[in-house]
Amino acid sequence: MRPQLVQRTLLSLVLGLLFLSTAATGKCSGKYHELLQQLQSQADLMQDTSTLLDPYIHFQGLDQAGLKEHCKESPGAFPSEDTLRGLSQRGFLRTLNATLGHVLHRLTALQQDLTIAQDQGRNIRGFRSNIHCMSQLLRGSSEVETAEPTQPGPEATLPPTPSSDTFQHKLQGCRFLRGYHRFMHSAGQVFKEWADSRSQSRSRRHRPPRALQRGARRMRPFRRDERLMPRGQLPR
């Protein structure tokens, strides 16, 4: 337990520093690459089950044979990876932001049971801040993009309130956290694809990323068929 605690503490510290960098500046970075890399790193760290799920399972006494297998993600609780891939960049960010908002709400309830949920709440807020910045960055290049509905987040699919049955509440919390980590893993994969597509685009054109020099206002808008493929003025 002690190494696990240390690991979690270090992880929280790293995440905190990452988020602190964003929060400390108070304004969004105009560098797409940095922002994307930071989002990717944050998603990678937040998908780690040792940050939330594992402590929760241990704290609630669910680490027993016969119970673990019932701690599975509830179908439809979080958008699937395919769903996220099918979204445009801005749609993806909106969905991500909305989902994490609901996760924050749910973590507030979990804070009574799990103290480290409070730390994770701060991390999610920092992550959402970066999502906001990325949205700002993309907004300058997607003014003509048609509005895309946000994918239903956990609000629509998750049980609205925890059951009065404490046992069911425990299981639901476990399933919710597992879904959350899976969702962050999917989000990280999407961000990775963003980065891959950008590097491919840059290698194809063999020219310096002008957008990095001109800023977000010169970015070209995305189209529906350009999903996850930032082109034009987008920094590469």
């Binding site: 006494g61 669910l62 027993q64 016969g66 119970l67 019932h70 049955d165 404490t166 046992f167 425990k170």
Partner: protein, 1168 residues
Amino acid sequence: MSFAQTFSFGESRDSVSRFGTTSCPARPHRPPRSLGCPLGPAGWPAGAAARTGARCPAGRVFGFHFSFPGLAHFLSHRTAPGRGVQGPHLSRVPPAFPVDPKEANSCGSRRAKRAQRDGKLQKSSALCPPPRLSRNSRPWARAPQLIHSPGAGPALHVHTRVRGGLAPAAAAPPKSRPGSRSPLPAGKPEPMALFAVFQTSFLLALLSLRAYQSEVLVEPLPLTPESLNVSIDSAHQYLNLQWSVHSLAYYQELKMLFQIQISRMKTSNVIWVGNYSTVVKRDPVLHWSWKSELPLECATHFVRMRSRVDDAKIPEPRFWSNWSSWKEADAQKSLGRDPLFLFPKDKLVEEGSNVTICYMSRNQQDNISCYLEGQQIHGEQLDSNVSAFKLNKVSFIRKTGTNIFCKVDQKDVIKGIVLFVSKVLEEPKDFSCETQDFKTLTCTWDPGTDTSLPKRSSQSYTLFESFSGKKILCEHKNSCNWQVDSDSQEMYNFTLVAENALGNRSVSVLFSLTHRVHPKTPYNLFLKNVSGTKATVTWKVHPIGNYSTLLCQLDLLGEGNVIQQHNVSIKENGEYLLSELEPDTEYMARVRCADANHFWKWSGSISQKFITAEAAPSEALDVWRNVKSVSGRPTVTLFWKPLSKLHANGKILSYNVTVENLDRLSGLEVHSVPATANGTELTLDQDSYQIHVTALNSAGPSPASVIVVSGDPGNEEVEEERVNGTEDGFSVSWKPQSGKAIGYVVEWCDHPQDLPCDLQWKNLSSNTTSTVISSGAFRPGVRYNFRIYEISTERMAYLLEKKAGYLKELAPSDNPQVVVSNLTSHSFTLSWKDYSTDSQPGFIQGYYVYLRSKAEKECHPGFKKATLPDKSACCQHRIDNPEQKTFVMENLQPESVYEFLVTPYTSAGSGPLDAFTKVTTPDEYSHILIRIILPMIVCVLLIMITCYLKSQWMKEKCYPDIPDPYKSNVLSLIKSKENPHLTIMNVSDCVPDAIEVIHKPEGSKIQFLGASKSLTETEFTKPAYLYLLPAEKNYSGPGPCICFENLTYNEAAADSGSCGHFPVTPEALPGQPGPLTSPENLLKALEKNYMNSLGETAAGEASLNYVSQLASQMSGDKDSLPANPPEPVLCSEYKMQMAIPLGLASPPPAENSGLSSTTPLDQSEHYR
């Protein structure tokens, strides 16, 4: 939390076997009531009625259909109803009668019929006891009972009704209903009628009297519980009962007793029976709750009740009402359609409690397995689809609760509950209250274990004061502040109640406020006027009231220990003079106070450190000296021990050493030694000197320490004695000599093997003749030398005695280096004179000499057999004198190997027995041989040296060089004058065919080399000649023949001068052996050894003969030639000599002799 009702419980057989006892706590909103709780085996068909005394007749009592044959019968059963409810507890007699009303009625009917038939009083029996008459069954009974009479027979039906409330026990005379029959039997004669009239009159009189006394209306009231409603509180697992009774006509309130039955699954399965006593008022809607151990959701429960007046205002006997109808409480109806349910949900229990869990399955075919914290548990099946588990003494596992879940096998269905187990709420410990200012009382306690759980608060604490009736909720878990309103209240009785969701614990304390004064910590503690031995302490305290006096305790601490303690009574300011302090010492002054009148607690302490001023050292130094002679001058080394802190009285700055010559008048010599030194060295002369040593600090010098030394060391030749060491040290004693000693000094070294040896000394008074020297530096196996000095009145030290000893003697660790000497064939000497006995780990008491030999099995005289650690045997000789360091081994065998070992021994043992040394005794005659051979070798060497030095001379005398014939002058003479055909041939021109050695005796007899005939048999009177014969087989005529004549070795030949040529034919060589008969073999044999130059000799010049004599290297003695005929021996050397015609031979010049062996016959060949 207090329970509102107290029950005594009965247990059904089911409940006993499954769930144990049941409890019936009151609902919180109900005031406490006391009620008796007669109980029966709930599970029995007869139910509790039989156990409660409501036996078969009782059932009939409720039916009120009993016969009334006479007063005697009535009186005989007057007390019978009392057996029904005799007290709060139920007698546990077996049920004698079923409760079944039918059975009861039938029993009553039978009795009535028998009464009718027999016309006499019925007797009680085991199965059908006589009907008990309750008070309201009698004409004067006015108890509010519902009475009806389903049975037949002469029964008196008395209906009472309470008007305007229940009247106290009095009741109006009963009215006979119009249709009622007379209780008297008909058809009796007149005397009987007269008796009947009398009896009736008597009864009427009694009834009137009763009515007068009770003043109650006559009509009975139906008090059976009505409108019974049962609901389920799933959260707390309560069955909530609500019912009402009819309005009370004659009483504002009436105490009633309700008997309640609870069945499970079916009405006949009564699991609990209990009584509930309460006071019914005008609006008699009553509530009562029952807590179920088995979760209510898992089984349908049924409830019914009956009532009875239990008020003293109503005289006995009192009768139970009829049972109400069964009311069903079924929680399963409200459950959903889930296939599996598990109850109770989120139950909170205290650690150590017993908990019953049940599950309910919708499908009986499902195979369900349940787990408690991952471990499967097995329960008891209550129904086809209901099973229950009993968990005994549950323990706390985690704050988030104990997980219990059930799964339907082969299905993804899981249901579970969380059992929250709280720590046991402990009674607050160490509860006490005190005040610091008579304004606030602070109560503190130890709360014990925290019983909080997630979403459930921890225990709360309430402080209640009984005299004032005030109560406050404490904000902290371990303390609470109570405001003292005025001075009027002196006594306080506090009750602290700790309460959580499961219960409460309380503790009380009663005290007087003035006895609980805990003063505040003093302040402003100062030290003033601090000198070397005194200091003044001042402090202040917070005043307590106007007349309170505080007792303050002043502690003086030094090095953490309390040195002085003083008590001072003060009002507000304290002051005390501390004395008897040590100079230059750090102290701490500490003050605390308490109420002087009623001690309760000390206040907190305040302390202050201070250091007293320095003073001159109070003690003289302990000085000792060591006198030694350096370069002929006595050198005195002074040692002193640093003053202890107690005597230094400050920091020592330096030491002063003053030297005064006692023999001559001279000035004082003063030396200042730094404070870091513990001694100094002085170089003096042979005079006596008095030395003063003082220590100085900032306050002044210490008293002087005086010592007198002299250049004369005195008598050092004192015999050393031994002293035994013990665990405590060395006990040293001595004998006074002069009797004028002013003291003694024992001197030793803590580390005698080191330099410096860390000299130590101990001063002893003059009347002391022994002491124990102990030191932490003493080690076993180290020899310590003690010298005892006597200090004379002149302060001169004289050596008295010497002691040496070991704290503990050890066995020697090393053996001496032994030298072997005087080795003979029969003895040798061992010596180890370099072995020092003084530096050994024990007193050497002697030596063991071990000897072993493979040749000798028996030990020599003086030796005895011993066994070595390696189990080998040897001979041991013991030397008891440690100073004997030589030993002679005698009686040894020549040419034998002996092994010896010399090891010392002490009282602790001997040295190591490992390294034996081998010695081999020499041969018995070897010394004789040495005496002969050695001179011989010397002589030979001398001869050889001489020969070497005189080699030229020897050569000339013994073997002069053979002259070279080529350089002979004779050749030129032959060539030029006498024989022009003669020439000198080269050897290469001549092919040798054979070499013939010719022995030329007087008869010219020829002898061949290697002939079978022995040479010894040949007469050697003439020199031998070697002939070289031609190789051709067909050689027949006289051919060339070369004859070598050795004139040098063959004097006879030389003298005779007959080196002539004798033609030799092959036939002249009879008997020549094989190898030499072949010309090739002969050539080979001679090719390396002989010089031949046949090639240079013309074939036709047969007149010229060369004769050579064979000269062997092995024998330079020409005298031996006859005995050793010339054989063709390898490495033989032959001298070549020129042949000259007979008669012309002349000796070669001496100077050409050296050329004889090196003259080249050809450019590529050498001949020797």
